[in-house]
């Protein structure tokens, strides 16, 4: 045990105050157990097939796709913060940049892991790239997400190489420095890739002519959901980053970033959320009055199936859209950290609800005369895999916080370490 404590202490950056090894281990144990359960459930699904789930050919998108869409939207804070700092030169967001990269890496790697369980046959994953379905928006999504995950790994590498023990290897430290200098390139590539894959995930639903609840008109080859997904992701990414940072502050009992960073993230999130809600409202009105009647459906019929009533639409647009946009931007509320976090939580809830509606409600609704309204309750294997990914995220973030300079970026930026 003494050796473990010593190893743990040696991995923690000099001068960084962290909780005791024992407390940290007790914190990790339940998450490791949950991750182990998730791995077991995923192994069952991979070994026995998707009969372990409650999905079928009619209800092919379930909890996992919902998790993927939700996590990828929340992970947008990574590319968007990088874009703001490196391209738009919003230097005051630098303190959360490393944290944003870790959050993004967790969200995207978790999403890819779940997708691999969902698709199955992981040994044949390369088929996706070598024999792609060139008519599917998922092809673009797959290509972009894979590339962006690679970008995130490259962005995480400089953070990882600054670990106290790794930095003792001179070649690692110099490589970290040189890679760090090229991070603006990665930020630009990340923004480009994210723009398209976030949009294509939305476009995926908007082009479903056979699903009039989801089908939308749009611009050129892109349905309106393409643009709404991009807007909602960049709106909610900073909010999720705020929530993660606040959670880390609560758990560690330390102030990790200044109040100005929270206010700025909140303002960016709130303004973008306001634009998104306005666009979403217009889109909904167009769908209600033009798109849906044009294909022969009364739009309100879609809301006749409980529990998916019209209240869900109202909930998404007003309490989880307009209200957080107000809380995150109004001078009356942004001075209070509690209101800011409340706004951020509501914003995240709104976008998660949007992804749920598009994934689950779309598939549950009948579209043909002989169709029934379907009910889908995920199996324990699906829930456990989902929980395993959440546990993986908590473990990776906890380890990164403990052993890497997640919130130390501002310190380095203030000092000239360049030889050039």
């Amino acid at each position: 045990m003494a050796d473990l404590v010593l190893i743990d202490r040696r991995l923690i950056a000099r001068g960084a105050e962290r909780t005791s090894t024992m407390r940290f281990m007790f914190w990790l144990i339940p998450w490791v157990a949950l991750a182990a359960l998730g791995i077991y459930a995923a192994a069952l699904c991979l070994y026995f097939g998707l009969n372990q789930t409650h999905m079928d050919t009619r209800f092919a998108f379930g909890m996992w796709i919902y998790l993927d869409l939700g996590m990828i939207a929340m992970g947008a804070g990574a590319f968007f913060t990088g874009f703001l700092v490196y391209i738009l030169k919003q230097e005051d967001l630098k303190p959360v940049l490393n944290s944003a990269v870790v959050v993004g890496l967790i969200c995207y790697s978790g999403a890819v892991a779940v997708l691999m369980v969902d698709v199955g046959q992981p040994l044949r994953a390369w088929f996706t790239f070598w024999h792609p379905n060139t008519h599917s928006m998922l092809t673009e999504v797959t290509f972009c997400i894979t590339c962006y995950l690679f970008v995130l790994i490259l962005e995480y590498l400089p953070v990882l190489l600054r670990n106290r023990q790794l930095r003792k290897v001179p070649s690692f430290l110099v490589f970290e420095y040189q890679l760090h200098k090229l991070v603006p390139v990665l930020a630009a590539v990340g923004a480009f890739l994210s723009f398209f894959h976030q949009g294509s995930l939305g476009g995926l639903y908007g082009v479903l002519r056979g699903r009039p609840f989801a089908f939308r008109q749009g611009f050129a080859i892109w349905p309106s959901t393409f643009f709404l997904f991009i807007l909602s992701a960049i709106a909610v990414g900073p909010s999720f980053l705020m929530l993660v940072t606040a959670a880390a502050e609560t758990l560690t009992e330390r102030r990790l970033v200044g109040a100005n960073v929270f206010r700025k993230l909140g303002l960016i999130s709130g303004v973008l959320l306001g634009i998104y809600v306005a666009a979403k409202a217009i889109d909904t009105l167009v769908w209600l009055n033009i798109t849906s009647p044009a294909v022969g459906f009364s739009p309100w019929d879609f809301y006749a199936y409980k529990p998916f009533g019209s209240a869900l639409l109202f909930l998404e647009i007003v309490p989880l859209g307009l209200l957080p946009a107000f809380l995150l931007t109004s001078p009356l509320t942004t001075r209070r950290r509690g209101w800011l976090l409340c706004g951020a939580a509501l914003a995240c809830g709104g976008v998660l609800l949007n992804r749920f509606v598009l994934t689950v409600q779309t598939l549950a609704l009948p579209t043909l005369a002989f169709d029934d309204f379907l009910q889908y309750i995920p199996s324990w294997q699906e829930v456990a895999t989902f929980a395993g990914v959440i546990a993986y995220g908590v473990i990776l973030y906890s380890l990164s916080y403990r052993y890497l300079p997640l919130f130390g970026q501002a310190k380095r930026a203030d000092k000239n370490v360049s030889l050039d």
């Binding site: 010593l6 000099r14 060139t134």
Partner: protein, 270 residues
């Protein structure tokens, strides 16, 4: 990659999509290759060690980055922005002319006026044959006592200023001692010899970056204060220091202390 898909026909959309995709892939690969090439170049041009040191220096707490002229009492407060390389400091000559504070001859740990000191707790003594002898200073010696093992560089190997000079192990702790200057190892000693390395300097020797005169007691008394703070319990009330001298072989005498933190600060780990 698509043409072998049954029924595939090229369209402008495919060309645009694939061009963008491969542009992204090429950009990512180029980024990695550029970072690796620059890293290799930094090692070839002997810039790597200096870069590593500057990284570590930037991570040092402010109180450990104070200028030598502050240590000597020539200026009230000044933080070094040259990574302790006074050879490149444009203001060195200006401050060096100022009168230094008078220190007592003994500040709790002994030092020699014939030796120059590096802040990584090594001393340097120029010899008549043009070589330079390097040893561990009294402060570090009191902390470590007799190391369990020492890993010295082989003769004829090159060491670089602020890079790794030698490693020591003591009670399971690895101690990495920084080199006080660039040079070629001529001979190696050890704990019993009282010195560790004899170096032939690589370039025309310039030792301006090493501490001397009034700077040494000023620096050592600051180090003793730091040590006292590191040894005091976290919730200890404020109290007056009672003076005294540093007892020998502290790592054996106080095994329960936070030696990880003490050694990191003593040997300038960033």
């Amino acid at each position: 990659m698509f043409p072998w898909i049954d029924g595939f026909h090229w369209t402008p959309n495919h060309i645009i999509f694939l061009s963008l995709f491969f542009a992204v892939v090429l950009t990512l690969l180029s980024t990695i290759v550029a970072a690796v090439r620059r890293t290799v170049s930094d090692f070839r041009t002997h810039r790597a060690t200096e870069m590593c040191w500057r990284f570590n220096f930037a991570e040092l707490p402010e109180e450990e980055r104070c200028c030598r002229h502050q240590l000597a009492g020539r200026v009230p407060h000044r933080i070094c922005d040259n990574a302790f390389d006074c050879r490149q400091c444009p203001q060195y000559a200006e401050f060096a002319k100022l009168p230094a504070r008078a220190f007592p001859p003994y500040v709790g740990v002994s030092f020699s006026n014939n030796q120059l000191y590096h802040r990584g707790h090594t001393w340097v003594r120029p010899e008549n044959d043009g070589t330079l002898t390097v040893g561990l200073d009294e402060f570090a010696h009191h902390l470590v006592g007799h190391p369990d093992s020492v890993q010295l560089p082989v003769p004829d190997s090159e060491i670089e200023s602020d890079g790794l000079a030698w490693r020591m192990m003591k009670n399971g702790h690895e101690i990495r001692v920084r080199a006080p200057l660039d040079g070629t190892v001529v001979a190696t000693g050890g704990d019993k010899e009282g010195w560790y390395l004899k170096l032939r300097p690589r370039n025309p020797v310039n030792l301006r970056h090493l501490l001397r005169g009034a700077e040494v007691p000023g620096w050592l008394s600051g180090e003793l204060d730091r040590l006292q703070l590191q040894f005091s319990p976290p919730d200890a009330p404020a109290c007056l220091a009672d003076g005294g001298t540093l007892m020998p072989n502290l790592m054996d005498a106080m095994p329960a202390a936070d030696w990880d933190a003490v050694l990191a600060a003593t040997f300038q780990e960033g």
